[in-house]
Amino acid sequence: MRARRLAIALTAVAALTLGACSGGADEADDTADAGATETSDGGAEGTLRVGIKFDQPGLGYQDGSDYTGFDVAVAKYVAEKLGYGADQIEWVQAPSAQRETMLQNAQVDMIFATYSITDKRKEVVGFAGPYFVAGQDLLVAADDDSISGPEDLEGKNLCSVTGSTSAQRIKDEYATGTNLLEQPGYAECVTALVAGTVDAVTTDDIILAGLAAIPANEGKVKVVGNPFSEENYGVGLPKDSEVCEDVNAAITEMIEDGSWQEALDENVGASGYVPNDELNPPTVVACA
């Protein structure tokens, strides 16, 4: 008797799961249809390959088979406006050093990966946006009140990622006596910060906020909130891309209908971080 009851229970569970699955599939189809009807050319075929970071919590993060973060949210919104449903997006990992090459070799169609617009980069790739203006800031221990800006780092230990712009700027412009620890990733830097061997971690404020917002770090670290640079995050596109104006239009729409703010709160809000409101939300720049 017991075995039969178990079998019935299992069947019920299986049926429920199946139902839930098909429900999910319907939803995905709906969004794809909606995207298609909204674009003038009647929806897009094939897939859109979007380059994101896989290892930046709050911005672009691979969580099992899911992708989460602010960059991902903006990418999804833009893709939908271009006529690609959620199931037509192929997420590709785009590490910093490979972004230009991936666009030039057409390995990706667009990149949303904390990609600052710079003149040198504009020589080889195109940019739409900016969709966010970040600023370089510091992450310190939650109980550390001695550091309120880059000038306070004289003689202290600072961690950043190898090959990044940020740490060198502090050494060059603010505190020459800073001890610099370079690590392969920000996760290692936060480990060193929590262990107390470094006093601060530096990079763009929104990246720090993403790190501070992950449950393991909550309450242990905080973003100082005194940004001292301007990083315009753009959408990386192949040079002379035809969709640049469409991407810009989508970003503008996202900011106007409130989804932009929603995505920001959802992904990095938990750290208490508020982006620089003089510069955000940004106004997109016309494509060159």
Binding site: S96, A97, R99, E100, T101, K120, R121, E123, V124, V125, N157, T162, G163, S164, T165, Q168, N179, L180, L181, E182, Q183, P184, E188, T191, A192, A195, T197
Partner: protein, 229 residues
């Protein structure tokens, strides 16, 4: 390739000190090679010794270190030894990381030096060891006077391969906050994506210039030193 590209490429060398970065890698390799040779020789002696516990300890070291990725060892040196355990090898902040990286490179490559030497020991005929025993030498004297000298001469080529691997692996020190070639390359790519292929080529050619002479030298040495049997 237009002239503008060449000019942009050359401006890289004004902006970044590529030679200094290579010099750091050469220094890392030299220090690590010497220490690895010492540790590796001790390990090799342990592994051929008649004492089972020494043989076991040597084998464990080699198996563990050889099968651990070097990046993990270097990151452990910084985040584990320095970060958690507070091990400092120098009062100067950056020198400390340099020495930790040398330590990481040395203990890793010691495992490979040990294996290279053991392959050298295998080239020594068993009769040599038996003869050494027959004239009344103990294990240590036999190893020092008869087996190891021949083993080193037989192991020059594999030792050269370990040295070449070490030179190239020294780039992993970037993971331990040492300002060397691979770290500089990442910085250059971050700021100068307009000449990205020239940057790759520069470092590739740089390593060829360093490594090829090592290969030629060890090959010719291994021929000249080989024990004629």
């Amino acid at each position: 390739m237009d002239e503008g590209y060449l000019e942009k490429f050359l401006s890289l060398f004004d902006e970044y000190d590529v030679l200094a970065a290579f010099w750091v890698n050469i220094q890392l390799s030299l220090y690590a090679a010497v220490i690895a040779l010492v540790i590796g020789t001790v390990l090799a002696v342990m592994r051929i010794s008649p004492v089972p516990s020494l043989r076991w300890a040597g084998a464990t070291y080699v198996t563990l270190l050889r099968n651990t990725p070097l990046t993990i060892i270097i990151v452990f040196c910084v985040l584990g030894l320095w970060g958690q355990l507070g091990l400092t090898l120098s009062s100067d902040f950056q020198t400390n990381f340099f020495r930790l990286a040398v330590l990481g490179l040395a203990v890793y490559h010691a495992a490979f030096v040990c294996e290279a030497l053991r392959s050298g020991v295998n080239t020594v005929p068993v009769g040599q060891a038996e003869a050494a025993r027959a004239i009344g030498l103990g294990f240590w004297s036999a190893a020092r006077l008869v087996i190891l000298p021949q083993a080193f001469r037989g192991a020059v080529a594999p030792l050269g391969n370990v040295l070449i691997a070490l030179i190239k692996n020294s780039t992993v020190a970037a993971a331990g906050s040492v300002a060397e070639t691979s770290g500089l390359m990442r910085t250059m790519i971050e700021f100068r994506p307009d000449v990205i292929f020239a940057i790759f080529l520069t470092f590739a050619v740089g390593y060829v210039i360093i490594v090829v002479p090592v290969g030629l030298a060890t090959t010719s040495l291994s021929r000249r030193l080989a024990v004629a049997r």
